[in-house]
Amino acid sequence: MRVNRHNYEINATPRLQVLSEDQIEAIYYASLRVLYETGVRVYATEGVDVAHAGGAIVEETTARSSLVKIPPDMVDKARATVPSKVVVIGPDRRYRMELFKNQIYYGGGSDTPFTLDPYTGERRRSTYQDVKNFARIAQALPNYDFHMSLGITQDTAVGTYDRWQYLAMLEGTSKPINITAVDIEGVRDQLEMALIRVGGKDEWRKGPIFSLYIEPVSPLSHSREVVQKLLFCCDNDIPFVYTPCPLAGATAPATLAGLLVQALAESLFGIVLSQLRRPGAQIIIGGLMSNMDMLSTIYCYGSPEMALLSAAYTDITKWLRVPEYETAGCSDAKLFDEQAAMEAAINIATSGLIGGNMIHDVGYLDSGLTSCPDLMVASDEIIDMVKRILQGIEVTPDTMALDVIAEIGPGGHFMEHDHTFERFKTEIWRPKLIQRQNWENWQLAGGQRYGQRVHARVIEILESDTAPLLDEAMFKEMRRICELADARHKDEELDVKMFV
């Protein structure tokens, strides 16, 4: 196999590069042709109007949608105002994400229907308590920089679950959150909750405490809710993730380059629309690209193509200078088993080495259907290892230690030297759950597999006493917003019990 040595730059940080600049430009100009020649279908008049006023060609208008074609100069104009950096800060202002080129941040995934119960191991419908549990795990582990709702709350009302799971997350973590929303009303309610949490609009402007996840539909379709959410975010200083989820061979070409062209066209439409609505609107483009498994038909979360596509897309977004949404820490395994650990390790390492920005979906099993606390705890340590690799090797006269080598000479040892004493803690990474004891001591300590130690840590986190993050009045006020939403939608509600 050919190895592209030129991919490796001389730098303090090890770096991976998948696409050359020529390849990136080829993909970029191809996606401009898709936008102009094929066009995208937009299912919201409001969005069609904004695009049209900005110079787009509108064709084939039906009762529900229009085909919108974007001339290349519109993209150039949008690129001139789209921010190269987006900042999201947690309610605890120490937790800060500065999303720009090569800054890596890891966080959970969102909205899985199922959760592996931490006590019984059973796969069951996710609940409010599950969502809170995952948020507490994210809060406890240092390598999680943001969080998403690992589990759709299904013991709350079906049409308003988004508010409830935001509340559950706020109970568990004070880190930045990437929320999802049922519709624009859901975004509005959650913004109201966020303003209560952060202490008003001025504080929000200093640093929004959530971003909104928006997912256009591949291929090349932008639904009504998606467009409405995008415009609402632009109008209300809300950073948002605009992430298509194309599937090679199913909702995108089977060839990875073809998928990248299509995904970029989908993202660029988001950039154009947002910058037309409000120049400087804070968009993060992503981020979940994979292949369909041609036997099982599942969306692969652990395939090498998933990691490779995410990495390639990062190269493109770095070239565009737009913050990027990325995927890692996830697997197609059904349990936290060897496959899960292997797939998560591969995609976490790839996402770190490529320098993806907002790397989500840590904790996903079962092709995005099941959330797993054990995978989240295990991935924290994988991320820690990757971060050590990313630190690289400092090469200076001091670190090359010629004097020390001369002093010790042939046959001596370095264990007692000051140089060792002073450097070993910063130079040599130390594991937390990884076991390195010799056989005898490992046996003495219970002879546990990694999975058992990971699980013990899950239980330890869940059963630890932590001070509540929300005071009672604040919690009540936010809960009231959820209840009012429930009341407004009471008539549409399904029997909640059928879900749990």
Binding site: G411, H413, M415, E416, T420, F421, F424, W439, E440, N441
Partner: protein, 214 residues
Amino acid sequence: MSEILKRMSSAVIQGQRDDTRQMARDAIEGGCSAEEVLYQGLMPGMDHVSGEFKAGRMFVPEVMRSARAMLNAMEVIKPIMVKNGIRMAGKVVLGTVQGDLHDIGKNLVGMMCEGAGFEIHDLGADVAPGQFVEAVKAFQPDIVGMSALLTTTMRAMEGTVQALVEAGVRDRVKVMIGGAPVTQAFADRIGVDGYAPDAAAAADKAKHLIAASR
């Protein structure tokens, strides 16, 4: 008096290599006996270090510093102990066996045993059976410790034991072995008295062997 001993324990724990000699002198001048310095000052500090190391809260370079802090103090009190006929924890002759140049593990064992109050005679690496025999005769140790990293050189352990038997000194000493490929089962097969999987365990094992034989 107990104040200086406490400070000495703390200096060992902190790895204050440059302070402990003077502290030992001050303690002796202040009326402490050499035994008190060892068993109420240095050893409690080193025991604490050993516990922290086993618990994963202290690391090799730190333990090395603590051991060195203790050994520096030992330089002051050892001549006094010898003069007064006070026995140390025990004497250990240590070496990596013939054909094997790997000595980092053996060095670790030496430091750990010194930290536990043993007197160490380190014969180095690639030590022939005859050299072990000579060392037993010369130093009169309580324990002979052998190290090997290679499965091929493990065989030299058995040969060295035979050499000790043939020289008629096998019964005078306890023999301990260790090294990455070595196991308790191998130790049993070649008829030695002790095996330890790592350096900290080796120091403990040495103490047990001495306690059992006295």
